[in-house]
Symmetry: C3
Subunit: 203 residues, 3 copies
């Protein structure tokens, strides 16, 4: 039960980031709902299509459709309030990515994938929605332009998949998620960056 | 038989819009054919991948490949003629979207999806090709920038899925399609828009 | 064995083009690895999803993940060297596309698709990775802007699928691949272009 709750929290937060991008691009309420749905559900749908779990979970449970739709419309209607709460959203976003990378990696492992592919799919679950959001909104995906985002998701997913293989309990998953959240927030607050191409000034 | 015919008409019209975008972007004849195929078949292929109906119908019937390829090349060769017939194309485009949303929603329902997901997939069938066309052509998808487009498709698909669930006959599908066409054309001709974010001038 | 080797060479070369685009866009090392993986594996994954061969081959064999990851990071670290070797990369890129179109078309035919859809999927295998790379990097896909690229891939795939249907041996596949490489390189070196829209100056 609390797993589904966490999952829905992640979806709702991701949907909010989609709606915020939609408001900044001056899209109408429907565009905001579509971008919100795509951002909230895109990563999980990509994973499910790649492991052959179709129809994707997001299409089999009405809550997975309702939550991001409602979240997007609420953000759309009250966007000045949400625009001011950027730091809370950043924390929630990191939590959402952590939930997604752990759940995605474990689900891929349960479908019989090896450690490395399963970890990769966990990362895809965490970053896929944001990539689709940015491509649809006509901008280079934020994971390419920003502080460390995908690396913590990959690390968290890898840890979760290894824990799954070793038969460890739920506390190991919590640890994997905490690693992802902690690394991401530290990178944000300390301005850590992955290495740039040699010869380029570190911005 | 007439269902397949309608389907092929929808595919041909969508392929034409892809080829017109290709001509405007000054692509060569091959680029026009690729954009035409993607626009005509993209929505249905997306739906089929998501409901697990692979290989997609578009790859199992040669007419589904031939029709959009021929339509694209014809538009490419005679584009000044087609450029002048924008209003007829708009009507045909609305008819194509109506056919796609009804057929897509009913197919998803037949694959066991619930009412809401099936209606969503009907909408994806109708708007997916256009979204892929615009992303490949490097512009923000038109459904985000224009008059009401996706909402009528969702409404038509929802009606069709409900009619399918209630066991109503083909006339109910026609009604669902007519709702989609009528709403779309009224929105275009009266300049209806979905609500914009609060604080933004209605354009 | 040598088929897998050729396949890995194609993946490595494509991954290098992804990493080079990443360096030009000033992405960090992680962005280069992601773009490299997507470019190297994207076409094959698209094909596998469309024919229902999930999880895709790229997720079931660790070499298919390791090779493009290593290739991307090497290019990232030594990009000035690779930037100077553009002509060798062009030749390798043509070889990679030839391997992909033949292998993709034959695999689709083995999954029961008809000649035309199988050839189309062979082409998708060859050009899909580059399209995804360019969409993610925020530019119009190079296949739409450049000299003949997709047509030779389609021709090579068609020939390979026909050879597969006729039960010809591996030498026919080599011939199909050679057609693709030769046509592509001739088009590049002689400046051949597919026809542009009527009324537009041939550039």
């Amino acid at each position: 039960m609390w797993i589904v709750t966490l999952d829905l929290v992640g979806i709702a937060v991701f949907a909010c980031t989609g709606a915020i991008v939609a408001v900044r691009k001056e899209l109408d309420v429907f565009g905001a709902a579509v971008l919100g749905l795509v951002t909230g559900l895109g990563g999980g749908v990509l994973r499910d299509v790649l492991i052959g779990a179709v129809p994707p979970a997001a299409l089999l449970d009405w809550r997975y459709l309702l939550v991001p739709a409602v979240a997007s419309v609420v953000v759309f209607a009250f966007h000045p309030t949400f625009g001011r709460r950027e730091s809370q959203i950043t924390v929630l976003d990191a939590v959402g990515a952590a939930v997604f990378c752990v759940a995605g990696g474990v689900k891929a492992a349960e479908y019989g994938l090896g450690v490395l592919p399963a970890a990769l799919l966990g990362m895809v679950t965490a970053i896929g929605g944001g990539i689709l959001r940015d491509v649809l909104a006509g901008r280079v995906p934020v994971i390419f332009r920003e502080e460390l985002y995908a690396t913590p998701a990959f690390a968290g997913a890898l840890l979760a998949v290894l824990a799954h293989g070793a038969g460890l309990g739920w506390w190991a998953y919590v640890g994997a998620g905490a690693l992802c959240v902690g690394w991401r927030l530290l990178a944000l607050w300390r301005g850590w960056r992955a290495p740039l191409p040699p010869g380029l000034q570190q911005g």
